[in-house]
Symmetry: C2
Subunit: 189 residues, 2 copies
């Protein structure tokens, strides 16, 4: 794992400017074997985030799974959100907190349960459960490999835990899918 430690180092000191370009979308042909350290990374407008699509649907042509490498600076977090796919995390570095509201018949997520996550741990988010991942460790980045099913991801976002499920906002394509999604659209002149 020493080599991925190098990746963690590179991410930590990267200026986050390696944006995705259309030449990196699957319609342009993708090498079967790819060097993760050369893949595009970006914060997609969220300071303290680094996101790399390691193996993706729109970017690399996968149909059933997608893998991300994400790093969260101390104090940063995902939105409160849900998606109708399975999601499994492998924590490569750091620690943090998963907030999870089990899917129920209530109209809002309500107060979430808290789970402590740590380096070398794995955890999953059940389909449609509302959740949020925080780097609650003030001293270290949190780095995770994320696996989702049913790509590309369709994310419903909540302003807070008391927002009704019906008021959650769909963001699709998601920020890191926007570029390749656009290049997939056929010109229907």
């Amino acid at each position: 794992m020493g080599e991925l430690r190098v990746i963690a180092f590179l991410l930590a000191f990267s200026p986050f400017i390696t944006a995705v370009t259309s030449s990196q979308c699957s319609t342009n042909g993708i090498p079967l074997v790819r060097d993760i350290s050369t893949l595009p990374q970006d914060n997609y407008g969220r300071p303290g985030l680094s996101h790399i699509t390691v193996a993706g649907s729109l970017m690399h042509g996968l149909k059933e799974v997608e893998i991300w490498l994400q790093t969260f600076a101390p104090g940063t977090h995902t939105p409160i959100h849900r998606h109708s796919c399975e999601e499994v995390f492998v924590v490569l570095k750091g620690s943090g907190t998963l907030y999870l509201s089990p899917n129920s018949h209530a109209k809002t997520p309500g107060k979430p349960e808290e789970f402590q996550i740590f380096s070398n741990s794995t955890f999953y988010v059940p389909v449609n459960d509302v959740h949020q991942l925080w780097n609650t460790n003030e001293n270290e980045d949190l780095q995770v490999l994320v696996v989702i099913s049913r790509p590309p991801v369709k994310i419903f976002m909540y302003n807070d835990w008391l927002m009704p499920h019906t008021a959650a906002t769909l963001k699709f394509p998601y920020f890191w899918d926007e570029h390749c999604y656009q290049t997939d659209v056929k010109d229907e002149l």
Copy 2:
């Protein structure tokens, strides 16, 4: 990633006797957050292999994805095989060779293409393509995270690259799924 390096160390020096027991199957309730270093590992009858089901279907109740952590000693390899699911690898350590016969209308896989894989690389195997992964590096273990869709995996195995597709042998449940598969069977007395 330093902590997963510790896992690599533990794997390398483990006597490979941490077998799966029925208490570790999903019917018995699985913690949402799990410490990977405490998960059962075994070589399942293949000397030089270490397999850990990090997040599994039969073992942990997932429906759409499954994640394995596998280590191959120098010179060891998978069988020649195919499966009707997507499979994505992230190489954590070492290097090796992927042999891949693209799915075609031929009656046998035929001579495979060779792809060099290396630490920090990612690669995928298209659905139903016949393939084999070798640790062709004499000096280092090859360690990979493997993601598959449509678990539990149904593997068709070939004796060689000239064996007809129709003669390939289905192994289901696969070796690391056998124990939890058995515990899923209901007694119909």
